[in-house]
Amino acid sequence: MKHATIFLLYVSQYMKTRLTYRIDMAMEIMSDLLFQAVNLIFILVVFGHTNMLSGWSRDEIIFIYGFFLVPFAIFGAFFNIWDFNERYIVKGEMDRILTRPVHSLFQIILERMELESLFGMITGIAVMIYAGSRLDLSLSWYDPFVFLVMVIGGAFVYAGIFVLLASISFWSDSRTSIMPMMYNIGNYGRYPVDIYNKVIRFILTWILPFAFVGVYPSAYFLGREEWYGYAFLTPVIGFAFFAIAIIMWNIGVTKYRGAGN
């Protein structure tokens, strides 16, 4: 309850400051849209040459991409703490965070949130509706709830991985270039995993489980029953990874060395 009111207060503060920089915000939303459009065009170009990718049709892959955009938008809005090392460890802002009576990760999420990213959800849902209507997908009454659970699971997978990477900064304060690499690997989750070789498939499922952000949960909505087992694992993997990340974070905080003044 207390966290919810703090969250809402931060959101209203965020809106206030963002609205004073309207052009900035418009630019950011535009560049996000452009980025999503480029990815969509890429899929269309690939399918200009072929009808099927390992048994997946063009519209199915577009649907997966649309689904992927939704958890990714949530991740981008709240857990995109790629600059954690520099901002909080090297500059010592973590000192300030640790003198306040709220969980440190929660505070950082509140300070670093970028709510504009949430527009990606609208794009994603639009893409899914477009692809879904061409695929003649039928919806049951419970599917919106399943969708919600899958989206949260997928967002937690992303969040878990990025929080884990951020936690490394507590042990080593040298700058790492893992974060940009992780964005690229994350994109692999947007395509059906059976187009990759076994090793990559294994990594995307169990080590860096980005497949649970796109293809696995989408398989449920596409009625691909052979993947249902993985589809229903999505929330489990999401919560497990996020829980591990929080545990690592909490251990990391005790190893925090502070910035030397």
């Binding site: 207060l9 503060q13 206030k16 300030r96 640790l98 009576p101 709220v102 005790t254 925090y256 502070g258």
Partner: protein, 338 residues
């Protein structure tokens, strides 16, 4: 003796830092086996602070001040030793613990840069979960005494350093903590703002019995506020006691500097101070000697009288020893018999 607010028992903090070998070959060897060097920033210090005390925590850069304050505020985990602050273990019960303390780091802002000061206060009020009536009563007083009413609707980035610092102090006191940590709160401020801040700190100390631990490079802050000082050097406490005692052991008295008009030696001068509470130290130029004497009229005039009667002098200066000088002396000589 009042209630103990801070209890520190053989507190220690070691940092492991790896030293890289030189050259390309060294870099390759570093990949596999690293040379670690353990640096102890704080070496087994112990002290206690009672409720309502204002303690000056001083030391040179790198003496371990910041590191020990960070352990007391729960930011860093001690390597060994125990810390109890407000009856809690700062690191283990961090979220509960930090509610009972206020922190001002002079070089680091607690306030949000882009939003108005009062919006920052509103966020902090929520974070600390302060009820409206308590907040209003307490903060109206704080805002008035720090004279920051007119600044409340300005964003922090538009404030001057002095204005910001007063707002920082108000923010740290928003939840009316019983214990306040101030790390360089007056750095870079002009005299008027310093005075205002000092008066305010005295006032809350009297009104709420707030315990204050203050680190600063500006010893006039400490002279104005603290009865007690804890002095650190190379991670160890080298003095813990009354500031007045420090002054009386090391600085009570005056220095009379004589510039002699002829060549003199220490042996020649020695008999002049016989039976007086005074002693010679050589000055920094040839034929300059300084008589360190107790601050008593008859001794001072006796010394001057005897020296002038025995030797030709070209100049006399009488100095009061400042706290700064005392502390410099202590660090230079590295020992303390008090």
């Amino acid at each position: 003796m009042g209630k103990e607010v801070i209890e520190v028992q053989s507190l220690r903090k070691d940092f492991k830092s790896h030293s890289s070998r030189s050259g390309l070959k060294g870099a390759f060897r570093d990949l596999f086996t690293r040379n670690y060097k353990v640096i102890s920033a704080v070496k087994d210090i112990s002290f206690t602070v009672n409720e309502g005390e204002m303690v000056g925590y001083i030391g040179e850069n790198g003496a371990g001040k910041s590191t020990s304050i960070k352990m007391l505020t729960g930011i860093l985990t001690p390597t060994s030793g125990t810390v109890r602050v407000n009856g809690m273990d700062p690191h283990k019960e961090r979220e509960k613990f930090v509610r009972s303390i206020g922190v001002v780091f002079g070089q680091r802002s607690q306030l949000w840069w882009d939003i108005a000061v009062q919006e920052s206060f509103r966020l902090l009020k929520k974070v600390y979960n302060v009820p409206d009536d308590v907040y209003n009563e307490h903060m109206n007083h704080v805002i008035e005494s720090l004279d920051i009413g007119p600044l409340l609707d300005k964003p922090v980035r538009k404030l001057s350093l002095g204005q910001r610092m007063r707002c920082e102090l108000a923010a740290a006191l928003l939840h009316n903590p019983k214990l306040l940590f101030l790390d360089e709160p007056t750095i870079g401020l002009d005299v008027l703002v310093k005075l205002k801040i000092r008066n305010f700190l005295k006032e809350i100390n009297e009104k709420y019995k707030t315990t204050i631990l203050l680190t600063t490079h500006d010893l006039t802050d400490i002279e104005a506020l603290c009865e007690r000082v804890v002095m650190l050097d190379e991670g160890q406490i080298i003095y813990d006691g009354k500031l007045a005692k420090l002054r009386s052991n090391w600085g009570e008295g005056k220095q009379i500097e004589f510039q002699f008009g002829e060549n003199v030696t220490g042996d020649e001068l020695q008999p002049l101070l016989k039976e007086l509470d005074a002693e010679w130290t050589p000055g920094d130029r040839p034929n300059v000697y300084v008589a360190n004497v107790v601050n008593e009229e008859h001794v001072i005039s006796e010394v001057i009288g005897r020296v002038v009667a025995a030797h030709r002098i070209t100049d006399i200066k009488i100095h009061e020893i400042s706290t700064e000088e005392i502390i410099r002396n202590i660090y230079e000589e590295g020992m303390l018999n008090g």
